[in-house]
């Protein structure tokens, strides 16, 4: 972290003096006190305990929802047999491939539309029309086009990731502060320099928000895609468990989905913290 000392107010007497007299702010990496952090986990924990108690008292039959202890035991079993790691890898592979494809497509289209008038006319109108359609409604068509193998699953994930990235990056590029662009032009930046030093860094905050949306959308697409005749993957694990009324395995699958989504989100936030260190909000956080 660079010097995070902040001049207390713009109306200071001497700029030099301000640097030494302004109160030093906490480093941006400072965390909430531990007690406060743990308090957040208290209420979910109570809920799990209540769930366990209700299961043990027979209020929740295992056919409706397995007890937390059963879920834990099943998790261990699924890990030990190698079933869970296998399906997890398959699902991760689908998301990674589809997400990469989608982000690349979305970013490429946004660059074309954002950086040229002609590009906007060609690309933006169809994209805006397509985005209003719930893309999951394309599943039947995808099955007809791509069959029931890996392709429609990956295509669906890619499609889910494309639109958020396209929309936010396009908006970010078009949201460039014209005053900054003008100043950069006065100081000798050509069009390439302008794109590299002004337009793209300026669009980054918006694009990263898009990336988080894209991740969420990709997971959602994965869940739907894995209901299409899958023979592997977390979705298959859940569907298969349904056939045998194994609510414990279904819950394991759901928890894995949730954890994956959480992890991915944390990853993007980490990227955000590093890439957007210059933002006043983050400087003071």
């Amino acid at each position: 972290m660079p010097d995070t000392q902040v001049a207390a107010a713009p109306r200071q007497l001497a700029p030099r003096a301000s640097a030494t007299t302004a109160p030093a702010r906490l480093p941006a990496t400072a965390r909430k006190p531990a007690a406060q952090r743990w308090r957040r986990f208290a209420s979910p924990l109570v809920l799990v305990v209540l769930w366990q108690a209700a299961s043990m008292a027979g209020l929740i039959p295992p056919r409706t929802l397995a007890a937390p202890t059963t879920v834990l035991a099943s998790t261990w079993e699924l890990i030990e047999t190698g079933e869970l790691p296998y399906h997890l890898l398959v699902s991760l592979g689908r998301v990674l491939t589809g997400f990469t494809l989608g982000v690349t497509t979305g970013a490429a289209l946004a660059l074309v539309a954002g950086l040229s008038r002609l590009g906007e006319e060609v690309v933006d109108a169809p994209m805006q029309m397509l985005r209003t359609m719930p893309f999951l409604a394309l599943v039947p068509l995808f099955i007809l086009w791509f069959g029931i193998g890996e392709t429609p699953k990956i295509a669906l994930v890619a499609l889910g990731a494309t639109f958020p990235v396209y929309l936010t990056l396009f908006a970010g590029i078009r949201g460039t502060d014209p005053k900054l662009a003008e100043a950069a032009r006065v100081f000798g930046l050509d069009r390439r320099g302008l794109i590299r030093h002004v337009i793209l860094p300026g669009a980054l905050p918006s694009a990263l928000v898009g990336l988080r949306y894209a991740l969420g959308s990709a997971w959602l697409s994965l869940v739907i895609a894995e209901q299409i005749n899958a023979t592997a993957g977390i979705g298959f694990l859940i569907n298969d468990a349904r056939e045998f009324l194994r609510t414990d395995v279904i819950v394991v699958g759901l928890v894995v989905y949730a954890l994956l989504g959480l992890g991915a989100d944390a990853l993007v936030r980490l990227v955000e913290r590093r890439a957007l260190a210059w933002r006043p909000g983050l400087l003071k956080a």
Binding site: P2, A7, P15, E182, A184, P201, L204, P280
Partner: protein, 245 residues
């Protein structure tokens, strides 16, 4: 001219002939002629909407000049805007050398920032600078290009009075050391008289008044000639003395 005027102002003069700018029905600049001596410090006054900024933008090359106009402009030119316009995602020193070749950039940035008294803030993000500091950085960004024409577009309008006083001294200091032909657009009569050798009043799209400021530097409001000049300029700007007092 006072004795502090730069000694090495040997480059070309600035010449503008027949500059007309229209926005729709509105004629902002009307066949304007302007000459600035090399290394001179000129202030351009005018009511809002008088075309001050339009003229400055044309001189900076930000707006295309019409064909019938003739412009001989010293180059390179550098601009300090009313807002600092620093790129928030680049460290202060990187902002200073934006658009310059990277060889030796760090050293040049450090030099320029030292000159404006910001050497201790080289490696911070612009968002952490105060208003005055940010405008100093913007000055450093202009100076590092060794401009022959320095254009200041109401650069201190957004600063508080105390910071502005320090900035005035700094700008004069830098002008003496580097000797660019300097034009400051301002709506502040006092600022114009404090800084410039010559004050122009823009009105009706033309230079309506051209007044030499023959006061020795450093100038103060209390100087004998100051009040007289101030009154004269206010009259040119159409301000009633009763109102002004």
């Amino acid at each position: 001219m006072d004795m502090h005027a730069p000694a090495f102002a040997t480059h070309d003069p600035l010449r503008v002939r027949n500059l007309t700018r229209r926005f729709g029905e509105n004629t902002v600049l009307d066949a304007l002629n302007l000459d600035l001596a090399p290394g001179s410090f000129t202030a351009l006054l005018g009511r809002s909407g008088s075309g001050k900024t339009t003229l400055l933008r044309t001189l900076a090359g930000l707006d295309e000049a019409p064909h019938e106009a003739r412009l001989d402009l010293p180059r390179p030119a550098a601009v300090v805007f009313q807002e600092p316009r620093l790129l928030p995602w680049k460290k202060v020193w990187q902002n200073v050398v934006l658009g310059l070749p990277s060889a030796g950039a760090r050293r040049r940035a450090a030099q320029a920032l030292t000159e404006v008294g910001l050497d201790h803030r080289q490696d911070v993000w612009p968002a952490t600078l105060s208003g005055g500091e940010a405008q100093r950085a913007a000055l450093a960004r202009a100076l590092v290009r060794e401009p022959r024409l320095l254009l200041l577009d109401e650069p201190f309008a957004a600063l508080d009075a105390l910071t502005r006083i320090r900035m005035h001294a700094l700008v004069l200091d830098l002008w003496r050391h580097h000797g660019p032909t300097t034009l400051i657009v301002t709506h502040d009569v006092d600022e114009a008289v404090l800084l410039a050798d010559r004050v122009l009043v823009l009105d009706g799209g033309r230079i309506a008044a051209d007044i030499a400021v023959d006061l020795p530097r450093p100038r103060a409001h209390a100087d004998a000639g100051f009040a007289a000049l101030r009154r004269r300029l206010l009259t040119e700007l159409g301000v009633d003395q009763q109102e002004a007092a």
